[in-house]
Symmetry: C2
Subunit: 159 residues, 2 copies
DNA sequence: TAGACGTAGA
DNA sequence: TCTACGTCTA
């Protein structure tokens, strides 16, 4: 399985996929459930390769080039464990490192229409800011602001 | 998605698949995690269409035309809930009904070789007997004995 | 071995 | 809403 930062050969912005398994196969995002995928860089720091925004967390879903993405852990509205403060490790740490390194992050967003849904590759983003806020369950949540790199095709849907 | 008893057009005995998602796509087995898939027949009884033997439960893995398949619920060695007696509902009830109706069941078995694995379609089986035993956790477990229908191709592997 | 924005069907 | 023989990486 490919592990790399940036664009994936053969995958175009706007490409659609039915299952997370397909994202894995083409190399866009290796995990089946994790929202944040990352690799270890030469200097030992982990950097984000891709994120999937399925709409489970309280992310900003505006139709703009800016995406607010919640960190992982402790606050999923659907898991049954009791909420906890998010920690700066694993995916969250990788997103912080990516903010500093300004490396490109592949963004995949879920598009829902009535009962069906698909994953859409939105292209490359840069993490430009992170903040720590109190989430809906009263616990600390990381919020990452990603901005879409300029010059990429618009995403359009045939309805 | 197709819901039917018996063979699936276009799928041959011995066909191999990487993911449960693919079993769903071709119509062999609709569930992503459930081991037992079933439909409601004309007279209102539920009948098994297919089972997946992933080796999670304590099934009989002999290389023969007989497969002992454990019922679902209460005794998965990997779930963290406390073991309970299995009940004759859902998949277990459907398997019992299939025993009486002698309807064909598609069998998919996991084949593991070192770290990789795949799902192999073994063809059609008939459920010929069920029993209730005390399982490894001291709780009651249904055991279903399935026999492969005669006249189907042998399964071979290139190693 | 655990953790994670999975899936479909009842 | 819940259950269920998922599936990957660290």
């Amino acid at each position: 399985m490919r592990k790399q930062l940036g664009a994936i050969r053969g995958v175009k912005v706007g490409d659609k996929f039915r299952y997370r398994a397909q994202l894995n196969i083409v190399g866009l995002h290796r995990h089946f459930t994790n929202g944040i995928d990352y690799i270890k860089s030469r200097d030992g720091k982990i950097l984000v390769t891709s994120i999937v925004d399925s709409g489970r967390y309280a992310n900003n879903m505006q139709c703009s080039d800016v995406l607010i993405y919640s960190g992982e852990g402790g606050n999923s509205p659907f898991n049954k464990l009791k909420p906890t403060d998010q920690t700066l490790e694993r995916g969250n740490l990788a997103l912080k490192n990516s903010t500093e390194a300004q490396t490109p992050v592949r963004v995949i967003r879920t598009f829902k229409l009535s009962k069906s849904s698909c994953y859409v590759y939105y292209g490359l983003y840069i993490v430009e800011h992170l903040s720590k806020e109190r989430g809906q369950f009263g616990k600390m949540v990381y919020k990452f602001r990603l901005r879409r790199k300029a010059g990429q095709p618009e995403i359009t849907f045939k309805l």
